[in-house]
């Protein structure tokens, strides 16, 4: 009972933000990139709920439009590594032997690369932008799923139901898809929730460094960076975009906890 409550609260919190992002034009009448150089750095007021930034853009509007960018890329960037990692983990765990040791050495190598260093190097190659972020997160992110699923397959493949499936002469592809996959996937789904947070954190950090989504697109990381110079007088400019990330992280972690409890039942 309590676990499903956690799950629903998390989904509710995240859902509210997703709805706001999708229906952004209905919530605010401003354009996120529309400059108003007469009304810059205004405090919160009735026309601009969270004030305006140094270029006179409405902060509240940029925050909601930023949610579109950060949430969408955060989610998108997890899908590819998930598919690659789960499939590879399934295969290497099942095949074992040489395939397994080669893949695990690659995994060890990728783990040795500090993520941000690799991400920055890749942005260097492909140039700043959404494509580089997704490539960087994919190159690093599959490793975690691969390890999780592989570990579970190693245990599951020795269980009676798998032996039974083998004895009845089912082809390996069918055993993997229909018997093993459903039994080993739950942990990876839970991890995916915290992985989305990690990828949003990456987008925000790269955005802050000026290596992420190109300006002037509203994005939380670049908003923090732009706000840092005005931190003394307009502290909310840098503070609120960060709180948005904490909000997303909080709701995803509730969803993750709820899923754990539900899947373990």
């Amino acid at each position: 009972m309590k676990s499903s409550k956690t799950l629903y609260v998390g989904m509710g919190l995240l859902g509210a933000l997703v709805l706001a992002a999708v229906f952004a034009p209905l919530i605010t009448s401003y354009d996120p990139n529309e400059q108003d150089l007469v009304n810059t750095l205004l405090g919160p007021n009735s026309r601009h709920w969270l004030g305006t930034d140094p270029l006179g853009r409405d902060v509240f509007t940029r925050l909601i439009y930023g949610a579109r960018v950060d949430l969408a890329i955060g989610l998108l960037a997890v899908i590819l590594p998930y598919i690659i990692g789960v499939s590879l983990g399934l295969l290497t765990g099942w095949l074992g032997g040489r395939t397994d040791s080669v893949v695990m050495r690659i995994v060890d190598t990728v783990i040795a690369f500090p993520f941000y260093v690799l991400a920055i190097a890749l942005v260097f190659i492909f140039g700043p932008g959404i494509k580089s972020i997704i490539v960087a997160i994919t190159l690093v992110g599959w490793v975690a799923y691969c390890r999780i699923v592989r570990a579970n397959v190693l245990v599951a493949k020795e269980q009676d139901y798998v032996h039974a499936a083998r004895l009845t002469g089912l082809p390996a592809s069918r055993i993997l898809r229909r018997h093993l996959l459903p039994n080993v996937i739950s942990q990876s789904i839970v991890f995916a929730m915290s992985d989305i947070v990690l990828s949003i954190l990456a987008i925000v950090s790269l955005g802050y460094l000026g290596l992420g989504v190109p300006v002037p697109t509203a994005e939380w990381g670049s908003m923090i960076q732009e706000g840092q110079s005005y931190i003394m007088d307009q502290w909310w400019l840098a503070t609120i975009p960060g709180l948005m990330v904490v909000y997303v992280g909080f709701s995803l972690s509730l969803i993750g906890d709820g899923l754990v409890a539900r899947l373990e039942r």
């Binding site: 190598t109 931190i231 990330v245």
Partner: protein, 300 residues
Amino acid sequence: MLPVLFGISVAVFLIVHSIPGDPADVLLGQNATPEKIKIINRQLGIDRPLIVQYLNFVWDIFRGSLGTSFYNKESVTSLILGRLPETGMLLTGGVILSILIALPLSIIAASKRGALRDQLVRAIPIIGLGMPQVWVGVMLILLLGLKYPLFPVGGFGNTFPERLRSIFLPALTIAILLAPILIRSLRASMLEILDSDYVLTARAKGISTARITRVHVLRNAMIASVTVLGINIAYLVGSMVVVERVFAIPGTGSLMIDAISRRDYPIVQGVTLYFAVVVVIVNLITDLILAALDPRVVLK
């Protein structure tokens, strides 16, 4: 460890070689003519087969040379070594502070499972894991640098005490990121330790809670923290790059980001390699510490 180092060298080599455009173009700028590009390519050895270039690259690494910067012709090795104090102090400071935050909180939480204090500590990871590094840094600057100006907001002083002071906020930023990860596993492992038979035996012998905590729980908890730190070391080292930027610390991470804006290939290549090797070495150190703390661990 050797296969990993081999893998790292191949990966770094491939990354640098997939950079579009000719390094000669960058070196020559507007003076580039096909003839000049050819000459430069010969000088840099870029016209040779890929495998030869790779072997040269590895040979250079063994000789301790990571090439020279395109920008000011300085040796990349000495550039990296010159920034070692900043990076080293930040890493050590961050790790020490994170243990200082996480350990007491986990002890407090685990001392009474389910109590209010336990619930509060359990909430830390839920909120803490979603905080962007850059944002934590900016918030600390706002609070402890500007509002209550206790610490410098950037740079890296000249004397050791100055450096300790200027490294505090960035190290705290790293600690705040790392502590939630530590707390999550420390609390769990402490609950396990407190439930264990040897703690029960110790209690039965009438040993005080304080002594049990010190002798049995703390040592085992340290083992758990070192393990968790080892797992997260790559993430930690990577975060340093970002945190250095927030506090304008002229460390290795800043070196890399500056090199990127100047398209200075040898530095990007050198620093990437350097960071990966740092992770491998720190992993090795973690294993050694584990073996020292835990008599059950045998090094092969």
